[in-house]
Symmetry: C2
Subunit: 235 residues, 2 copies
């Protein structure tokens, strides 16, 4: 099966959590909106005549199915890409973890957009500073501390124990993104999450991921995405 | 199977989306943290020795499984409570919709806590006013407009067409909560979402829901929950 991924071109954003899974598994996929006419096609799927229109990108077309929401896409892909266990209890547990990643990502996004997604960052800088301070002191350590504990409880080295899962790939992305956006704050946080850093290193060393990261398919972090480097927010 | 629901006592909050499904189906469940010693038991499941600790309430114990995150709990319960279709494509579609409810709920929460969950509302009132204005003008109409379109495309009267689902129960809760928190703003919005209001009315008329709403099990809306009535935010 060849998949079609629909996501904003030009940023890693939420789409990257799906890309990492597809790339790790060597799955065949088109990154539709990065191709000619792709963005128009993407908008048409949301605003056109689809019987089951997605609210927002990313979404995945898999045969006749159109699946939106990162955690939902990964829930679908997981067993098919060999990045999730097959039994129901373990899949639901992995989904719990991925949905906690989703919550974390939203809070990361809100460090630069606390007052509203419709406004520019420049119009909410004082609020962003206040938000980011609490984020680096409390929220990010809380989320990372939770995942660290989960790895510890599983026996490691991964979230589920001995087998890598799509949520480990998401953890890799969280570490990479936080290092980009908050180099100082993340340095402090990393002292307390050695198991997560080890997951990051293991994922980075996986041959398909390594090849992907070195390719043009991996978009560089930038200030239009989720993880933005605004030094004034990184105290 | 008797379920154990764990959620903060005293508020509807995110737990209510699960309660509505359990109540509608007449499922047997304990609302653990509202009973004696229940809150301590809930904290212990998060911070104690669980092999798969939840990050936050609500979570559901179903036999040996512990399932956290509202959309994940409902994904599990849906077919078991006859509130979701059984085929994979339709379940994933319903999950897409429920995860869009999750995103909406987070933005509703942030109307009173835009700068940080660790701070009091009183410490972020100017920011909340700014956030709430954009929320009522753009975000809430966008989310509701989306669900209205989904009902329209399905042929109605529900999100999936002729059969009610757990996400219709969530839509009911969104309308009730928005009417409580933003009576003026919601009045304007409701003019454009007649199909959602019709879902709300159908759900309210379901015998088990009607009985639940009239019972002591339904906690009243209040200013500790997701939906808070702060008149200064409701322009």
């Amino acid at each position: 099966m060849k998949y079609q991924l629909y996501y904003w071109p030009g940023i890693q954003g939420r789409g990257e959590f799906v890309r990492l899974a597809l790339e790790d598994a060597g799955a065949a996929y088109d990154d539709v909106a990065r191709g000619k006419g792709g963005r128009t096609a993407m908008m048409a799927m949301m605003q056109g005549g689809e019987k089951r229109p997605p609210f927002a990108p990313p979404f995945l077309k898999a045969g006749k199915l159109v699946i939106a929401q990162v955690a939902n896409i990964l829930f679908y892909l997981g067993p098919r890409l060999n990045l999730a266990p097959k039994d129901e209890g373990a899949r639901l547990w992995l989904n719990t973890l991925q949905l906690t990643v989703t919550d974390f990502v939203k809070e990361i996004h809100d460090t630069h957009h606390p007052v509203g997604t419709g406004l520019y960052y420049e119009d909410q800088k004082p609020e962003a500073k206040r938000y980011a301070a609490g984020f680096l002191d409390e929220r990010a350590p809380k989320y990372f501390g939770y995942f660290e504990r989960v790895i510890d409880r599983s026996g490691g080295p991964y979230l589920l124990g001995r087998e890598v899962s799509y949520t480990d790939l998401s953890l890799f992305q969280l570490v990479e993104g936080m290092r980009y956006a908050f180099p100082k704050g993340m340095k402090r946080i990393e002292r307390k999450i050695p198991k997560i850093v080890a997951v990051r290193d293991r994922v980075a060393a996986r041959p398909a991921i390594k090849a992907y990261l070195a390719s043009e398919r991996r978009i560089a972090f930038n200030e239009d995405g989720i993880f933005r480097r605004y030094p004034e927010l990184d105290k």
